[in-house]
Amino acid sequence: MKKGIKSRFFSRRRSLFTIGIICSVIIAFFTIIGPFIWNADPTATDYANQCLPPSGEHWFGTDNNGRDVFTRVISGAHLSIGVALAVVGIGAAIGITVGIVAGFAGGAVDTILMRIVEIMLSFPGIIFALAVLGTLGNGTEHQIIALAAVRWAHYARLVRIETISVMNSEYLPASRAIGNSKLRIVFRYILPNIIGRVIVIATLSIGPVILAGASLSYLGLGAQIPSPEWGLMINGGKEYIRQAPWITVAPGIAAVFTAFSFNLLGEGIGDLIDPRLKEKAEVD
């Protein structure tokens, strides 16, 4: 902390985090401001210019309906990323609550909650999401609910184990001995000690969730044609993959790049939150 901002961001360990931040800023720029700069209609078709390769005019080429792929990737970003953030946020909130309650209460509460979690985890995630979507019907909100319904169980299991490990640590009896109430112990001791790992896992799962959302859209659930959602674009372009690979590759790269940046960001945040790792980072 005293060593200045420079060593914090540019030591070897931090450099990955710095790249993560830079990438995330780029993504945020394109997602939030991009649609205002490249404000062409992403659904406007132009059948005179079908499947054009990338060029100065169409950076990522055009698709089978003559729509500019770059405009579509940009204007679809908020859909794909927004869904992923909402899913991870809701999933983590439920997972943290369930996990802490289970780990802290123990006994029958723990057993019941964890059996529910195991039932959730025993379904293949995408099948369960399909079942939820089948019941609720299509739509972005339903897509979020379906994916969050799968995700929370992962977080709950992690949080429970971390909670138990904090409960068994030797500073917990010390915290009780100084007169902390149970609620204070949960919020002042357990939560701060587990949140770093939860954030790492949550940000790491943003990538897979973007891809899972894309899969659902690819299967025709979630976002609907002609929405520029990335999964849907990949789905739409798959028939032209030999003649015009850019239709699928561009949104694919966007999804992978986003997942990659969030992963770097997640690990970096985890390190920053934990003071024990600061020292190591400075030694590197």
């Binding site: 030797e170 500073y171 009896p173 010390a174 009780r176 007169g179 001791y189 020292e279």
Partner: protein
């Protein structure tokens, strides 16, 4: 020794439920600790010293069954509900845990952790809490003040962490402190430093203290009274000088003979397992003076005003 004792226990026993049976870790402890005095419980690992300390603060796991009564300033604290007991912890009754290395929250600076106790129990004032913390750190001889308070536990040595824990225990000026193995895992130099500082702090604050240790030297430098524990019982009780200079119980004599300066004469055998106690006097299998009487009967220990130096032994 005058007036009402700060802590008094009546027939305090602790059992742990293990599987289908139970293991008795503490048997009928009757002690009184008076204002400003230090009672030292001396004994080997597993003799029930820490269990006794934890009983006072109610820090046992759920499978523990505590019987008997504990009085704090005349009030029966064993009769309080958990909710009524909570405000006593840290404010009136404090506990300095053993294993200093891992007893601090790794995510908070040590200053904040000590502040927290003050702000929880005395006054929720950041500045005053920090002043109090720094004063305590100074009293305990911690270096690099006040910057040290912003350090995290992993940046401190074992002896420093131990002193931070003592500061945490005393930050709200509790009436009574349980100090559990303050020298565990410290080297000889640090040990002396920590002991000196605890003694200094105890005298400055006039705290009443229960000191738990297996180290005769620690007991010698800090205690007023000593209780020697063996297999969950107090086997000898008396003032420091009486117990250390003219021990009555063969176990106490064995402990003193085992000291390096007395030639390392180890007591033969091992202390019995809590689930497999010998009949009669629990020390009889290892005792050089064991007679038939010791196998048939279990000697009693009664501490009274008139006869303070007592031993749980037929031959004392």
């Amino acid at each position: 020794m005058s007036g009402e004792p700060v802590i008094k226990t009546e027939d305090l026993s602790v059992e742990f439920q293990v599987g289908n049976g139970s293991v008795k870790a503490l048997h009928d402890i009757n002690v009184s600790i008076y204002d400003g005095e230090v009672l030292c419980l001396l004994g080997e690992s597993g003799s029930g010293k820490s269990v006794f300390g934890n009983s006072i603060l109610r820090l046992h796991p759920d499978n523990a069954l505590v019987k008997g009564k504990i009085f704090f300033n005349g009030q029966e604290i064993t009769a309080l509900s958990d909710k009524e007991f909570l405000p006593l912890r840290g404010a009136q009754l404090a506990w300095v845990p053993q294993s200093a290395a891992s007893s601090l929250n790794p995510l908070k600076s040590i200053g904040k952790q000590v502040d927290e106790v003050y702000r929880l129990h005395v006054e929720n004032d950041k500045k005053k809490a920090r002043e109090n913390t720094i004063d305590l750190f100074r009293l305990l001889g911690l270096p690099r003040l006040p910057e040290l308070a912003d350090d995290y536990p992993h940046e401190l040595s074992g002896g420093m962490k131990q002193r931070v824990l003592v500061a945490m225990g005393t930050s709200a000026f509790p009436k009574f402190i349980v100090v559990d193995e303050p020298t565990k895992g410290l080297d000889a130099v640090r040990k002396r430093e920590v002991i000196k500082r605890i003694g200094h702090m105890q005298k400055t604050h006039k705290s009443t203290m229960l000191l738990i240790t297996h180290d005769v030297a620690v007991a010698e430098s800090l205690a007023n009274d000593i209780g020697v524990m063996y297999a969950g019982e107090i086997v000898e009780y008396g003032s420091k000088d009486e117990v250390l200079n003219s021990p009555k119980h063969p176990y106490t004599r064995g402990l003193i003979n085992a000291l390096p300066q007395n030639g390392f004469h180890a007591i033969k055998g091992f202390s019995p397992s809590a689930s497999d106690m010998p009949t009669g006097c629990k020390f009889n299998p290892r005792c050089p003076e064991c007679t038939q009487e010791c196998i048939d009967g279990h000697p009693k220990l009664i501490i009274s005003e008139s006869e303070k130096h007592v031993a749980r032994c037929y031959h004392a």
